[in-house]
Amino acid sequence: MKVASVVVGGTVLAAALVGSNTGSIKESVNPAIKPVGLEAQDSHAAASLLGQFRTSASSWLFLHADLYLHNGVEMRPLTDAEIRNGRKGVGSNPNEAKIHDDSKIVTVIPSEKIDFRGIFGDVERATTSYKDMTGHSHNTPRDSLPLFRLMTFLDPQFVPGWTTGANIMLWEKDREGFRKALTYLNEGLQHNPKSIDILSQIAFCHLKEFGGKRDFAQALPFLKQASAIAHENWTRLSDDEIAATKTNYQRLVVTLRELGKPEEERLAVMEGLDHFPDDVPLGRMLRELNGEVIPEAELSPPLIIKPKTDSSEPEETQKPKIRFI
């Protein structure tokens, strides 16, 4: 793990020297690497050996962002055997439980309870960035923003870097955060003009509420464009893009409903269900369109963040930074 981290990490620095210019690299060098058929991927960094390094570096940084959120405490998922044996994950604190589901996560370094190593275990826990993370909270994600900046600098085609980074900017819950996120996503869109996820995320920015107003009209073109791209390239979409498409259809339907366009809404629902016949929210929306009354119990969490009573409340008051001793 450490070696792999170093190799990839070292590449980050080396690749930074080269920058993001892969335009001059011929596609024929390694055409098989192209992960999807979208034109946006034609200049994907993975089209060259150096590009592969840069892609790996971005992925490594993306994974590293989690370590930043936990202030260096390495976490791992519970194994199947551990789950069978009834071992519980550390879990997030109640304030964050809805955002971070860490109920099946434990610290990589064994806790004192299960560690047979005696003083060796004690010393390891004392010398590493270890803490019993039961009911833990997270560092503010803003601290990891520079990482996202770096990963998209290294690999502009690394879509999760754009979308997750923008999401973190939106945590600011103010106009400045919104402006930054939108600027960031638009930059991502320039590099990935047909990315379903980025288009949908731009729409999501408009659908976030600031001062009691959500801008459905601004969001609609992006949602429509994203679903059109997905529909055209359906057979060539990656798993991530399929997941983004599903969310995009849900957002599109809600937006069309809010804008009072029932015919388009029905078409969108039908198209969505055509691709995702088992999707519960889309099925429920169709039932609503058909005049059915949906029981309260069936309602799932909102697709779009509901208005808050006090949206200007600083994030820090809800999610205090963790400080370890």
């Binding site: 930074a16 260096g72 390495e74 190593r117 010393v123």
Partner: protein, 257 residues
């Protein structure tokens, strides 16, 4: 204790390493780090202090371990292969003196390269306006102790196997011992019957991970390591290196050359 012999042998190892330009690799690497850091600064990245520290300790840890393993694992086999061992053994020193002197040389070479790289990465960190913290000193001290364990372990393996095999095994244990230890704990938690076996294996492994305070030095707000822990690391380092040296001697003392 034949200190003049240790000094003579260690100086030979250091001079050879310096002139073989092993340390140039470290210097060039450090220069690349500096250049890359400057470049990141040039492109206007700010707020990457943790990332910069993370990279620094990772690079430091990896390259110092590589130098330690590669230097130590060829100490004795190269002497035999190149036949430089005969004039040495013809001197009125014991074979244990020879091993101790060579090991001291390897440790000095490793420490020089580690400190050289640390100095260069410190400059790189200054570019990122990383503040100096006392735990960084603890990190350096602990790491240097850990490198002694790595050197003695690699030298010990090289007396029992080929240099390549010794280097490979050393890398596996130097980089993988934390994972192996944690894996053993997980295995014993799932199957308590194998706990004694896991404990025995774990006690034999070089616990190099214990000497890596990088995580605490990189991330914000971690306290310094207690004095007793540093004391334990010192004691463990001496004990484990001594044991490795004894095992090397057990093989080498009667080995026909």
């Amino acid at each position: 204790m034949n200190f003049s012999a240790y000094r003579a042998l260690a100086r030979c190892v250091v001079l050879e390493s310096l002139r073989r330009k092993d340390l140039w690799v470290v210097a060039i690497l450090g220069f690349v780090i500096l250049l890359a850091s400057s470049t990141l600064g040039f492109f206007g990245f700010s707020g990457l202090e943790i990332f910069a520290k993370d990279m620094a300790v990772t690079v430091l840890g990896m390259f110092s371990t590589i130098i330690a393993v590669l230097t130590s694992s060829r100490l004795v086999p190269d002497e035999i292969k190149n036949r430089t061992l005969y004039p040495l053994l013809a001197r009125p020193i014991s074979r244990l003196d020879l091993l101790v002197g060579k090991l001291i040389g390897a440790v000095i070479v490793t420490w020089i390269s580690f400190l050289l790289l640390a100095a260069l990465t410190a400059v790189a960190l200054m570019i990122f306006h990383v503040k100096f913290e006392l735990i960084m000193v603890q990190y350096l001290v602990a790491k240097m102790l850990g490198l002694v364990v790595v050197c003695s372990f690699a030298m010990m393996l090289s007396t029992y196997m080929t240099p390549s095999a010794a280097a490979t095994m050393s890398f596996i244990f130097a980089f993988g011992s934390p994972m192996i230890g944690r894996g053993l704990v997980m295995a014993s938690a799932e199957n308590p019957a194998i706990k004694p076996v896991c404990a025995a294996i774990n006690s034999l492994l070089p616990q190099t991970g214990l000497f890596d305070l990088g995580g605490r030095a990189v991330y914000i707000g971690w306290s310094m390591v207690p004095v007793w822990v540093m004391g334990f690391l010192l004691a463990y380092g001496i004990a484990y290196s001594g044991a490795a040296l004894a095992l090397s001697w057990a093989k080498f003392r009667r080995q026909a050359v």
